[in-house]
């Protein structure tokens, strides 16, 4: 089940921590997931509606072309049992399948996402971490007809009929708003269909495996000794920082920008009372990072963790 407790409490994972959740796999390992924001959902939906519109236009054009050829070929325009009737049947069935089948077909696939969702980078998943079943997909998309297509039809007919703005119109408008805005009123951004199907929509993650953060620490320098051996940090010099600062240092080393390296090296030197040298910032930072991480990981083994430089020593 979901909870808002993060697995690793000190790793910042996403822009909006209120959307971070835990999903426990059947093996019992908690995984961090991030709920798709309402904006992403709306964007994906708009894209899907555009795709549906395009496909529906293609179907209509296809039917018109077929009908045109049949009429040109001498088919009676009013004979509905002839080839024109076939075109009519095809049109009705194709449109029904498109409106009701588009979302179901794509969400049943390996990526559990429609074209719009893929472009936005989100997908459907089962809320309790179990397998996403075909029933769940069908359930969440059948409800869509009330949430979306019914309001759209309603608005369309109200607009086309030039209906005066009376009580019914307002009631209908409220109905539209209630379902459309439903995701905004719960913390998991569930829409009606998600509630019924036991699903939610989460962000896709794609992270690359970076290099070892500080490879040079082990490298042998010209004089035959390890680079790291050039720097020795005392316990006191390493105890000024915690995991938060280690992570910041990791980011600086990974991004590898000259100015940032210099700036961080200077501020560390000030903090531990060293004389900042120049030209060798990267080697210094990698050595300090390695030593700091070794120290923090060692105490981690004994169950002691230090959040940041403000945390007291145990």
């Amino acid at each position: 089940m979901s909870s808002s407790r993060a697995v690793n409490p000190w790793i910042r994972r996403s822009a909006d921590p209120t959307l971070d959740r835990i999903m426990v796999t059947p093996e019992g390992v908690p995984l961090n997931v991030t709920i798709a924001s309402a904006g992403a959902r709306a964007g994906a939906l708009l894209l899907d509606l555009v795709f549906i519109q395009i496909i529906s236009t293609v179907i209509a054009l296809l039917c018109l072309t077929l009908a045109f050829f049949f009429v040109a070929g001498g088919a009676d325009f009013l004979d509905m049992d002839g080839p024109l009737g076939f075109v009519g049947i095809f049109y009705f069935i194709a449109n029904f399948l498109l409106l009701n089948g588009y979302f179901i077909y794509f969400e049943l696939g390996d990526r559990s996402a429609t074209w719009g969702k893929r472009l936005v980078g989100i997908r459907v998943a089962s809320r309790d971490g179990s397998r996403l079943t075909a029933e769940a997909i069908i359930a969440r998309n059948i409800v869509r007809s009330v949430e979306l297509f019914l309001p759209l039809t309603f608005l369309g007919s109200a607009g086309a009929g030039g209906m005066s703005v009376d009580l019914t119109t307002w009631a209908g408008f409220l109905w539209v708003l209630m379902f459309l805005l439903f995701p905004l009123f719960n913390k998991d951004r569930l829409r009606g269909g998600d509630v019924i199907a036991g699903t939610w929509v989460i962000q896709n993650v794609k992270k690359n495996l970076g290099d070892i953060v500080a490879p040079s620490a082990a490298r042998i320098s010209a004089d035959g000794s390890p680079v790291a051996a050039r720097y020795h940090f005392s316990d006191a010099e390493l105890s000024v920082y915690g995991e938060y600062e280690l992570q910041t240092l990791e980011n600086v080393l990974r991004s590898d920008q000259e100015e940032a390296l210099e700036k961080v090296a200077t501020s560390i030197c000030q903090k531990i009372g060293w004389e900042p040298g120049s030209g060798d910032e990267r080697a210094f930072l990698e050595a300090y990072y390695t030593a700091l991480r070794a120290r923090l990981e060692r105490s981690m083994k004994f169950g002691k963790r230090r959040k940041d430089k403000f945390a007291p020593h145990e």
Binding site: L31, I89, D110, E135, A139, I196
Partner: protein, 340 residues
């Protein structure tokens, strides 16, 4: 630098941990990326077989890394890859054909039996609706125009002659375009059924109102025909497709009531859990409802116009009803299987 050299040179234990295992991770990432792009065909058999093992190894690596490593980039990577492979290992996975076979082989009828109570509720609501419609119009025939939307029929109104009404029931001269008509009826009815289900989300009340309204319309129509002594013929005209169509609408309404009822009275479970359990069961019923409506559309479009006597219509309608009942009541009963 080879892996062994890198291993012996790595200063940090957690880096050694990573170097020992990263080949497996990269292999898994490669498999996962191919599967996500839908290129399953390009995977070797060994890769497909290795996926579950690699996935479980990855999960244990992640658990160890969380406890032992402060390399945030590495943990982020393992988290992301775990989630991606989790979705493939526990994906929807059933192919459409297999799902369909399981659906007809008992999944559907079991789901229908599971919402039995709601079917009885929906049935009584529908009967009540028809009776209300009949009584209202019998009391004051102006009610007919309130219940039946304008343009629904110009001929079938209170006070119409017997010949005019009979003409709407029997008559083969305009059998043109039956197929188109059937297709249109199907997509129209299917949308109504989907609506009846989806409205259950609002605690089932709109579903019930929709059932009552539709059946009141039917009751009103029945009164018009009954006034001219055409009750039996009207029911025959209706039953050829109506047994299937009304049954489908009954199931759709029952599915909606099932969801609404579970949300209003979840029992010991949480509201969300109750709603999703009920929703999945009801979705199976709904998939079947669509299939029933395809049958009803075909019967309405073709069989009704082609079979022009009440006896034949009762025969077909009754036969269909019997077929559905036998399937729902008798099919897919759980047999006690060893270990099941």
């Amino acid at each position: 630098m080879s892996t062994e050299q890198a291993l012996s040179a790595a200063v940090l234990r957690s880096d050694r941990f990573r170097l020992e295992r990263e080949a497996d991770w990269i292999r898994l990432e490669d498999i996962v990326s191919k599967m996500e792009k839908g290129k399953n065909g390009r995977l070797s058999d060994e890769d497909v077989l290795a996926l579950p093992t690699l996935y479980r190894t990855l999960l244990s690596s992640l658990s160890i890394a969380r406890e032992n490593s402060l390399d945030a980039g590495l943990i982020d990577y393992l988290e992301g890859l775990s989630l991606r492979s989790y979705f493939l290992v526990y994906g929807t996975q059933s192919s459409f054909g297999r799902w369909f076979a399981g659906f007809f082989g008992g999944g559907w009828s079991r789901a229908v039996r599971a919402i039995q109570l709601d079917i009885w509720i929906a049935l009584s609501v529908m009967i009540a609706g028809a009776v209300i419609g009949y009584i209202l119009v019998a009391g004051d025939s102006d009610w007919f125009y309130a219940l039946v939307p304008g343009g629904f029929s110009e001929v079938r109104v209170p006070g119409a002659t017997e010949e005019a009404l009979r003409g709407t029931l029997f008559g083969t001269e305009d059998s043109d375009g039956l197929g188109v008509f059937a297709a249109f009826l199907f997509s129209n009815n299917a949308q109504v059924a989907i609506l009846a289900f989806a409205l259950g989300f609002a605690f089932a009340i709109p579903s019930i109102l929709l059932l009552i309204h539709n059946m009141a319309l039917l009751g009103a129509m029945l009164w018009v025909f009954a006034q001219r002594g055409l009750t039996v013929d009207f029911i025959g005209w209706l039953s050829i497709h109506g047994t299937t169509e009304l049954f489908a609408i009954l199931l759709a309404g029952a599915a909606g009531i099932h969801v609404g009822r579970s949300m209003a009275f979840p029992g010991a479970r949480s509201h969300l859990k109750a709603a999703s359990d009920a929703g999945k069961r009801a979705a199976l019923v709904m998939a079947g409802v669509i299939i029933m409506l395809v049958c009803a559309g075909l019967l309405e479009g073709f069989a009704r116009q082609l079979i022009d006597n009440s006896a034949g219509r009762f025969g077909v309608g009754g036969g269909m009803l019997l077929l559905w009942l036998v399937y729902f009541i008798g099919f897919g009963r759980e047999r006690r299987r060893p270990g099941a």
